[in-house]
């Protein structure tokens, strides 16, 4: 039975590190995001879908952003982005659900864990500390990544309405009531209610302290990043903000569909980073952008099939390895299905983020031993 958040108290002090995760759900096609614009195999494999080299914002001699991502290219050129190519894991799962579970739980492909890596961070980071660290899911559902054994992150969608409802008398009475013992699911609901009250009140008040006047593009990720800005600016005591953008499962009509999602991603991240600069917290923020898998090299009609390894993006002001961290995907060396072969395990990245950014020991959070990357 996971425990629940205690009331937030106090402010997140200047200098405390914050992680913002941007999850691209559905399997973002990495090859059309960061285009290998000199690679013949890429162009031969994608006669309909390849991004022409004239529509690429070149980052080096091999790879460049699809031109619908100018803000991302700008961040890269300002030394504020590290791109890790070929991130994946052994025996990759091509199922959305399985792949997402693997990324959320930081498990291997042949292993199932019922807690998430951030949940375990919440569990372990508080050993001996005065105040527990917190994590917020900026979407409204539950997510495995934020579920620990003893603590779970809070789903912060719709916090204003929640806060108003929490102050009605019937609800307050319900909270004081005793409920039937030994009923796990009932217990879960009562704890959800109790945590909702204290957390919704705190979040509403905190987010209300600052209103971003920046022009975020329309879209679901934008809303989440805007709320994240307001919470950070208000001094919210959360170390992790987990955002989610869906719509990347482009089996058909990829060019149009992916471009809508990527445009929002790039614009929203651009505004978010500007906002962080403006409120003086850019030094403290690291953004990590990932998707559960990339897509197959060879196109399939107007779309692409589920693939394997993909890029992962880190964005922030203090990146010792800003730029291209490792070599571009080797399209001559694909697996037997025709998918990219990973060269970096995603857990190596998590370990870097946990140890170097969140500054806690990763042994209780990420299982297994991996070579250190020196990424952060």
């Amino acid at each position: 039975m996971p425990g629940f958040l205690r009331p937030f108290d106090g402010l997140s002090p200047q200098g405390e590190k914050i992680l913002v995760v941007v999850q691209l759900s559905g399997g973002n096609d990495g090859l059309n995001t960061l285009v290998p614009f000199r690679n013949d195999i890429y162009y031969k494999s994608r006669p309909n879908l390849a991004i022409h080299s004239s529509k690429v914002l070149r980052l080096n001699d091999e790879q460049g952003f699809n031109s619908i991502l100018p803000e991302m290219a700008d961040l890269y050129n300002r030394g504020m982005m590290t791109i890790v190519n070929n991130v994946g894991y052994d025996n990759p799962a091509r199922s959305h659900f399985r792949a997402m579970d693997i990324w959320h739980s930081a498990s291997g492909a042949n292993q199932t864990l019922d807690t998430g890596w951030i949940g375990r961070y919440l569990d372990s980071s508080c050993l001996g500390c005065e105040r527990a660290a917190q994590a917020l899911f900026m979407d409204s559902a539950q997510i495995l990544a934020l579920k620990g054994k003893n603590r779970v992150g809070f789903s912060a969608g719709e916090i204003h309405k929640l806060n108003e409802a929490a102050n009605t008398p019937r609800f307050q009475q319900l909270l004081k009531a005793k409920h039937a013992a030994d009923h796990q699911e009932l217990d879960f609901m009562y704890k959800t209610l109790a945590s909702a009250v204290s957390t919704a009140g705190y979040l509403t008040e905190t987010a209300g302290k600052f209103k971003s006047r920046s022009m975020y593009p329309t879209g679901y990720l934008s809303q989440q990043l805007k709320s994240t800005t307001e919470l950070i600016a208000g001094g919210c005591y959360s170390r992790i903000y987990y955002t989610n953008l869906t719509g990347f499962d482009t089996h058909t009509n990829q060019l149009a569909d992916q471009s809508i999602q990527l445009t929002q991603l790039s614009k929203a991240l651009g505004v978010f980073i500007k906002d962080m600069e403006q409120i003086g917290r850019l030094d403290d923020v690291l953004v990590m952008v990932f998707s559960e898998f990339g897509r197959r090299v060879k196109e399939n009609g107007s779309g692409t099939d589920h693939g394997t390894a993909n890029q992962l993006y880190l964005i922030g002001k203090h990146l010792p390895k800003a730029g291209m961290f490792n070599a571009a995907p080797d399209l001559q060396k694909l697996d037997d299905v025709g998918d990219l072969i990973h060269t970096v395990d995603f857990r190596q990245v998590y370990i870097e983020v946990v140890e170097k950014w969140l500054q806690v020991n990763s042994s209780q959070i990420i299982a297994g031993s991996f070579p250190r990357l020196s990424l952060l």
Binding site: R98, F171, L174, H183, A196
Partner: protein
């Protein structure tokens, strides 16, 4: 456990709960009587009404091409009525809860996003026909179902260019479950389904030009398999029985899997050649089904919650847009599953926001029928503003509730209501008060008060 408690548990889990009159009628009956009636009712199958398409189909190809957009438009416009018809079956206490719930179970299992009423009814009526019948018959029809083939991109699956989506989900989600086949099996199964498609969103056909009739190796067997052969091979696998038995167990018994119990059901399912009814009978008779850690320890999905409220007050939806908005608000829309894996079970339905809505929903629905008399509970607050302003378009009948419970007074009425509505003890003290209200208001406050608790979210 008393017989009445066991009957209540069976009807809550296997259906959407009892109506007040059914509850009273079962008070003096044995569990065996209640169980017999439960299964007997399930043999009476209801079907959804198909929209008229023959006029369109009878037209020439040219004419159809010209009219296709408006034909499909009418199909889309008919979806709200299709949803209403199904919801009103689930919420009607005179209709078998088990049959409706199995239809919902298979709809989640073969999760398909469907925009066109004709395809939706076609698929749903196929599910209705075999919901408690033979899984093989169900599966053989589903792999030819136009809506499912379309949803899983099998229209793009050709021998010239294999699309694995349909093949993968067939193995991962419909039969074997993940980890029981290789990537190669996915490709080979997909090849067998190349060229399987449909005309005009309604009619199955195999296009020989796109079908790969060469030899395939699937799960260690070799042959010039087509889709039917693949299904036959899958129906020889005990793992298929195990996977389905496991899903039934999680849906009906507990989201926490119990290997021994699932294995017990697997044996029955496999031995009975994938007949579904024997598994359900075994599951709903097993001693573990009535254990205290099972009873009342499962969370209703939003559709189950709506249906269970409907059965109390004999509510019926009249307005498709209103039903759509209500379901959107609670985050479960019939024919719009969240993804190919269907809907989750249990705790995944509960977040702080969803719980608030769920505590309010009975008051909203019933208030549409019954202008609240003074003192009757108001919704919990502004979370309701999303739907409180709209007319949900429901009708209902409160008479069975009055007839059944008004003659009981004071604590007797309350304890009877608790037993009827909640699978566990209510919160203490109760979060509402009936002091100083008329007897009818007292009854209504008690009912809505109990329905507005976390306990009522359980089944």
């Amino acid at each position: 456990m008393t017989d009445l408690q066991k009957i209540n548990h069976l009807y809550r889990r296997g259906g959407f709960g009892l109506s007040p009159d059914q509850f009273l009628a079962f008070r003096k009956r044995s569990f065996a009587y209640g169980q017999d009636l439960f299964f007997e009712q399930a043999s009476r199958v209801h079907f959804l009404t198909q929209i008229e398409v023959n006029t369109f189909l009878a037209k020439s190809q040219d004419q159809r091409n010209k009219e296709r957009d408006s034909f499909l438009g009418r199909n889309v416009e008919a979806m709200p009525d299709t949803r209403i018809e199904w919801m009103n079956l689930m919420g009607n206490p005179d209709v078998s809860g088990l049959h409706e719930k199995m239809t919902l179970f298979w709809h989640g299992h073969f999760a398909t996003h469907i925009r066109f009423a004709h395809s939706a009814v076609l698929q749903n009526n196929h599910i209705r026909k075999f919901a408690l019948g033979n899984f093989g018959d169900l599966l053989r029809g589903m792999v030819k179902d136009p809506a499912l083939l379309n949803y899983l991109n099998n229209n793009l699956n050709t021998r010239q260019r294999v699309n694995e989506n349909f093949g993968r989900e067939l193995l991962e989600l419909f039969t074997l479950g993940i980890g029981n086949y290789t990537q190669k099996d996915i490709v080979e199964a997909s090849r067998a389904f190349t060229g399987w498609g449909h005309h005009e969103h309604y009619q199955f056909f195999i296009d020989p030009y796109f079908h790969d009739s060469d030899s395939k190796i699937f799960l260690g067997q070799k042959g010039n398999f087509d889709g039917d052969d693949i299904v036959d091979i899958l129906l020889k696998q005990k793992q298929t029985a195990r996977f389905i038995a496991g899903k039934l167990y999680c849906f009906f018994v507990s989201p926490i899997e119990n290997t021994a119990h699932i294995e017990y059901l697997t044996e029955i399912f496999f031995k009975n050649n994938f007949e579904i009814l024997p598994v359900l009978k075994a599951m709903f008779s097993a001693s573990w089904f009535f254990e205290s850690q099972v009873v009342g320890n499962h969370i209703k999905s939003p559709i189950e919650l709506i249906a269970s409220i409907m059965r109390v007050f004999r509510l019926r939806f009249k307005d498709g847009t209103a039903l759509f908005r209500l379901c959107e608000w609670l985050d479960q829309q019939l024919f719009f599953p969240p993804n190919v894996a269907g809907w989750p079970n249990g705790e995944a339905w509960i977040s702080a926001a969803s719980l608030f809505k769920r505590l309010n929903v009975s008051t909203y629905m019933a208030n549409q029928v019954l202008p609240p008399p003074s003192g009757v509970l108001r919704p919990l607050g502004p979370l309701g503003t999303d739907i409180s302003g709209i007319n949900l378009g429901v009708t209902g009948d409160f008479q069975p509730v009055y007839t059944s419970f008004e003659k009981l007074k004071g604590t007797k009425q309350l304890s009877s209501l608790v037993e009827y509505l909640l699978p566990v003890l209510p919160p203490s003290p109760l979060p509402f008060s009936t002091t100083g209200t008329s007897s009818r208001d007292k009854l209504l406050i008690n009912i809505f008060g109990l329905m507005g608790t976390p306990e009522y979210q359980l089944k």
